[in-house]
């Protein structure tokens, strides 16, 4: 894998996650108690032996920079290679047009990297994937591009945020449908592509020259006749975060211990920024059932079917049910929250009751005091 560089492309649709992406890119959205979404892809790449990772960022990436810093936690603070942040060349008043421009502006980095292959991925797919097998598959298949997919039934809500592929019996990708209305196959693209670096450079420059804006549509889809694409099936845990309900659902899924185990222990460890919090303190009055709790929390009340991020305080008599409580929130005495997502630094003062709907959790924005 020394010959593969990773590019994490943060050209991702955040529209449906507005409440929790106002201050941060999707890649920096907190997930699973102590992580940010990007940790999963970064860790997968690093654990697969990739040592050179570029991150194509869009606007409001301060939170992401703060999280990544030197890349040391992912073992990417290196003398050669390591972590590179690839910002847009300039902020354009006309707004964002697509990822081709971003790739094009950062071609220097891509060209001068010494690896011959590139792995493209996003941050919205939460998984713990060893790319070594996929890369071997790519080299054996002699295809120009390998797309990684997962077979699953999609609900309509998921479908319109997904890319579906169709394969011929010999594994060639023969059709790609972006955000389709109807499913033509069960093969959902994980938006991860392995190809030679030269092909990526060619696709980007050719699309840019013809006014193309989107790598998938203008670079890959339009050339489906000329390039050979094969599909590689991934069978492990995968969660696609594209909306508040999907964010909520996939967090909660990790309360099933087999899923928790699948994501965190089947492949390599998942790295993240270290906060040096103390272990969780359960006081005498604590009552906890079916919960995932990160270090630094102090629990005096009741927690059920919920996820607590680092440094949360649950005061005596407080009741947290079916909720996601992010970093450093405080749930006051005898307060009750149910079906709620509290963003960072939220304080629910004593005695307040909050309840979201079963199918759509209530989101409390960062720093709110209720």
């Amino acid at each position: 894998m020394q010959d593969v560089m990773g590019i994490i492309n943060l050209n991702e649709n955040e529209e449906m996650l507005r409440e929790i992406t106002r201050h941060r890119p999707l890649a920096a959205v907190p997930f699973a108690g102590r992580y940010r979404l990007i940790d999963f892809m970064l860790s997968s790449m690093v654990n697969s032996g990739i040592q050179n990772v570029g991150i194509l960022v869009q606007q409001k990436y301060r939170a992401l920079m703060d999280h990544l810093r030197s890349g040391k936690e992912w073992d990417l603070a290196r003398k050669r290679d390591g972590l590179f942040i690839l910002p847009p060349a300039q902020a354009k008043p006309s707004g964002y047009k697509g990822d081709i421009e971003n790739f094009y502006n950062n071609l220097d980095y891509i060209t001068s990297s010494r690896q011959q292959y590139v792995l493209l991925a996003g941050s919205a797919m939460v998984c713990n994937l060893n790319f070594r097998k996929a890369f071997q598959f790519h080299q054996n298949s002699k295809a120009d591009i390998t797309m990684i997919y997962k077979e699953q039934e999609l609900e309509e809500a998921d479908l319109k945020h997904s890319t579906i592929i169709e394969c011929s019996p010999n594994g060639r990708v023969i059709d790609i449908a972006v955000n389709p209305a109807k499913a033509t196959s069960r093969k959902v693209s994980m938006e991860m592509y392995i190809m030679s670096k030269q092909l990526l450079i060619d696709l980007v420059t050719a699309s840019a020259a013809r006014g193309g804006t989107d790598l998938l549509i203008d670079g890959i889809l339009k050339n489906l006749g000329q390039i050979q694409i094969s599909g590689y099936q991934y069978k492990g845990f995968m969660a696609r975060i594209h909306s508040i309900p999907s964010y909520y659902k996939h967090n909660m899924e990790l309360l099933k211990s087999d899923k928790w185990h699948d994501l965190f222990f089947k492949s390599g460890p998942v790295y993240t920024k270290v906060k040096d919090e103390a272990p969780v303190k359960y006081k005498e009055s604590a009552q906890v059932k079916n919960a995932m709790i990160a270090n630094g929390c102090v629990v005096e009340g009741t927690v059920e079917n919920s996820i607590l991020f680092r440094g949360v305080r649950v005061k005596p008599g407080a009741y947290v049910k079916d909720s996601i409580i992010m970093q450093k929130c405080e749930i006051g005495e005898n307060a009750k929250v149910e079906n709620v997502i509290c963003d960072k630094d939220v304080s629910i003062t004593a005695g307040k009751w909050l309840k979201g709907e079963d199918n759509y959790p209530m989101v409390i924005e960062k720093g709110t005091v209720i």
């Binding site: 928790w260 040096d276 103390a278 005498e284 995932m292």
Partner: protein
């Protein structure tokens, strides 16, 4: 090297033989403590939080775990340019090699290291005490008193005073008398083994002590009494707060249990005084539907299906359904199978307790002692118990 105002030297070479099985394979400062830390984390974090950026760690006994744990010191923010943490084992010279013969000798053998930084002051610390302390305040006190040496002291109950080195001090803090483990103590101010010396003053005394073949080269026994006899300015710095020497299995267990009261004296949750340690890279822990957890500390990567009360659980521990753990310390990656019962025990890392097995005190005395299960051991259900605790049948991994 840039000149440093103060260099810290942490004595971390002791065997800690009274900790028995806990220190069979690792030095005492590297023994896990408090659900995610190692004992030395408290001293290293105190240095970091007191803005002391140059730290020597003197190792000797079983140094592998400790050396690799400290590494470059980045966990404590001590990987710095022209400063940082330096592990200092004994080394060979032209005239042969010598082990560290005592606390003072360990510093004496590292005079060259300290001279590189040309400091005004040297802070001598132990790597095996649990406490949070701002050394910067002690240094201020040392400077205000124009002292040659300052010794940090803590009030202990009179009946325990004979276990410590005790100081008598005048109204202004000047030390008038020092007794090492006296039968009938004159004071209940115990030395915490924390000293600040003017470097030139200390250097002279270490060299003198080094030439004295009758000396056992120990700060408490030889160097401090001699300084006092010669009439130098020694001051006692009164420390208030939690401080514990975890020298025995009982005191180690107690210090862990001290963290479990609802409002413990030692605050490990203070965001302005973090206790830094090497991170195990584990996900948040999981508490299952049938589990019950009260008055406990639980760290990352654990899965808890059973019952945990008044216990300290380190990272990566598995606790099966129906298992019951009380008043115990469970170290990293221990596997406790379903329906096992554990009370007043310390289970060292990566051991396995099989289904339905019991690790408890079966002796008859009114004061039950703590059962220690060493690392990499399987406790089987049919295991035999004796008055000394568990008899082990086989080893794993």
């Amino acid at each position: 090297m840039r000149k440093k105002e103060c260099v810290a030297m942490i004595l971390a070479g002791g065997q800690g033989s009274r900790l028995g099985l806990l220190t069979k394979k690792i030095a005492k400062p590297a023994v896990p403590f408090g659900g995610k830390y190692r004992i030395i984390d408290f001293t290293l974090s105190n240095c970091r939080n007191s803005q002391i950026d140059t730290v020597g760690v003197l190792t000797q006994y079983q140094p592998l775990a400790l050396n690799s744990y400290i590494g470059q010191g980045s966990a404590w923010d001590l990987d710095r340019k022209d400063a940082g943490v330096f592990v200092l084992p004994p080394y060979t010279r032209e005239q042969g090699a010598e082990w560290y013969k005592g606390t003072a000798d360990a510093i004496h053998q590292n005079i060259n290291f300290i001279e590189r930084f040309n400091p005004n002051y040297v802070l001598v610390l132990s790597g095996d005490h649990i406490y949070n302390m701002d050394y910067a305040k002690m240094l201020d006190y040392h400077k205000t008193q124009k002292a040659d040496a300052t010794i940090s002291v803590i009030e202990v109950p009179w009946e325990e005073a004979s276990r410590f080195g005790v100081m008598s001090a005048a109204e202004n803090g000047r030390v008038t008398e020092f007794q090492e483990k006296p039968a009938s103590p004159q004071s209940n101010l115990a030395s915490m083994g924390i000293y600040i010396f003017n470097w030139k003053f200390l250097r002279r005394h270490l060299e003198e002590d080094g030439r004295n073949n009758a000396s056992s080269h120990d700060f408490g026994k030889n160097v401090i009494p001699k300084m006092l006899d010669e009439g130098h300015r020694l001051f006692a710095y009164p420390f208030k707060g939690y401080w514990k020497d975890v020298g025995t299995v009982d005191s180690f267990w107690e210090a862990n249990m001290d963290l479990l009261s609802d409002e413990p004296q030692l605050d490990i949750f203070n965001p302005d005084w973090r206790i830094y340690s090497v991170n195990p890279t584990r996900p948040p822990h999981y508490i299952a539907s049938g589990a019950k957890v009260t008055s406990s500390l639980i760290s990352e990567g654990c899965s808890v299906f059973g019952e945990v009360d008044h216990s300290v659980i380190f990272p990566g521990v598995y606790i099966g359904e129906g298992a019951r753990i009380t008043n115990s310390i469970i170290m990293p990656y221990v596997h406790i199978s379903a329906n096992a019962i554990i009370d007043r025990a310390i289970i060292c890392k990566r051991s396995v307790v099989e289904e339905g097995a019991q690790v408890t005190w079966f002796g008859s005395s009114l004061m039950p002692s703590i059962t220690v299960v060493p690392e990499h051991i399987v406790i089987e259900r049919e295991v035999q118990y004796g008055p000394e605790g568990v008899i082990i049948k086989k080893q794993v991994g």
